[in-house]
């Protein structure tokens, strides 16, 4: 684990938790208003590749957990150092009742499609996102379909099973 980075992070930000479940992984948990500054700090620290923005629905806690996965690019000598091996996972929680968060496009421009996807599948509104239009889905859903309270079986019964079979209808 990148020990100096952990110390630096804990010295710079208050209210931050840094854990290392594995050698090459670092999990940072922080408050939601500190996310942009932590991402900025990590980007200037060399972690310039945003791999993924994901979301977890913690329905019992009534919260969404946003997950940002960062890694560093390989240096010119093509040899892995500790820094290039480490994946950084930044987690933060937002309220499920009012799912709003700020966009991180000013820091990582490639977050645009990921945030669009989360807007579509979890119904999270990203403030400042230039175009939150549908990305993957074709239909309208009453609840965004990746939320835990979306009942897929009920939906399948309602929509797909209600369509009659042509051969049976003919008779």
């Amino acid at each position: 684990m990148n020990r100096s980075l952990k110390e630096k992070l804990e010295a710079t930000f208050s209210d931050i938790k840094v854990a290392a479940p594995e050698d090459d992984r670092m999990v940072i948990t922080t408050r939601k208003d500190a996310v942009l500054s932590v991402l900025n700090f990590l980007k200037t620290g060399g972690y310039q590749h945003l791999g993924l923005v994901s979301c977890v629905d913690w329905i019992e806690d009534n919260e969404f957990e946003l997950v940002y996965i960062l890694s560093a690019y390989l240096q010119d000598n093509y040899e892995y150092s500790i820094k290039e091996k480490t994946n950084i996972i930044l987690k933060t929680r937002i309220s499920r009742e009012n799912p709003q968060f700020m966009t991180i496009i000013p820091v990582f421009a490639n977050a645009e499609p990921y945030e669009r996807e989360l807007h579509e599948l979890f119904g999270i509104h990203f403030e400042g996102h230039p175009r939150q239009i549908p990305l993957l889905l074709e239909r309208d859903y009453s609840i965004p379909p990746f939320r835990k309270d979306f009942d897929t079986r009920e939906y399948v019964k309602e929509v797909f099973d209600n369509i009659p079979v042509v051969e049976e209808k003919k008779k």
Binding site: R139, Y141, T152, V156, V159, I163, P164, V166
Partner: protein, 189 residues
């Protein structure tokens, strides 16, 4: 040429022509398409059976639907199917087009493909081996011989039912009906 087939050739030359020149549209849905490259290349060589992949639906008469069909893909499948010239044959490949397969409770995958377009044959399995495509092709030959591969005729005669199912799923369709709808309803009434 097989001597036993000479009578068949003389009786219905067009049918025999369709049988041995199946041009499969290279349309990739789901995971089943991974079986198609070995089938059409040197390992299994589908050309022995007269099956060649072609680039556009205008040149094709065999439609292999390989794998799960999402709602968005179904739109493309219907449009591709309607563009193919008759006679055309459709084969559902894998268990997902049959009944949903492992996506039986998915929110975005259609469960039964034959509600939306007519299917002439199914290949069950997840995944079927490439040999299964040849079994399906030889079965399709038998069906063509017996005039049972009549999906395109069923689509024409029941078009209002298929179109109604498609509209029930998509809401409004962006393209006009392939066949006039009013005549059909009158004919049946």
């Amino acid at each position: 040429m097989d001597r036993n087939q000479i009578i068949k050739w003389l009786k219905a030359p067009a049918k025999m022509g369709h049988k041995y020149s199946l041009h499969a549209i290279y349309f990739c849905t789901g995971c089943g398409i991974i079986e198609v490259p070995p089938v059409i290349t040197a390992r299994w060589d589908a050309e022995r059976f007269g099956v060649i992949p072609v680039a556009t639906p205008r040149q094709a008469n065999l439609f292999l639907i390989t794998g799960y069909v999402s709602v968005k893909t179904l739109k493309a499948i219907i449009r591709t199917y309607e563009q193919m010239p008759s006679p055309k044959f459709t084969v559902g490949f894998g268990s997902c087009p049959i009944n949903g397969g492992m996506y039986w409770d998915s929110y975005n995958t259609i469960k039964r493909l034959d509600k939306y377009i007519p299917i002439d044959g199914w290949i069950a399995g997840c995944m079927p081996r490439p040999e299964a495509i040849f079994v399906a092709v030889t079965h399709l030959w038998t069906l063509i011989d017996k005039d049972m591969a009549d999906g395109y005729k069923r689509y024409r005669s029941n078009y209002h039912l298929y179109r109604a199912n498609q509209e029930q799923l998509f809401g409004e369709l962006e393209w006009p009906p392939l066949f006039p709808l009013e005549d059909q309803v009158e004919q049946i009434a």
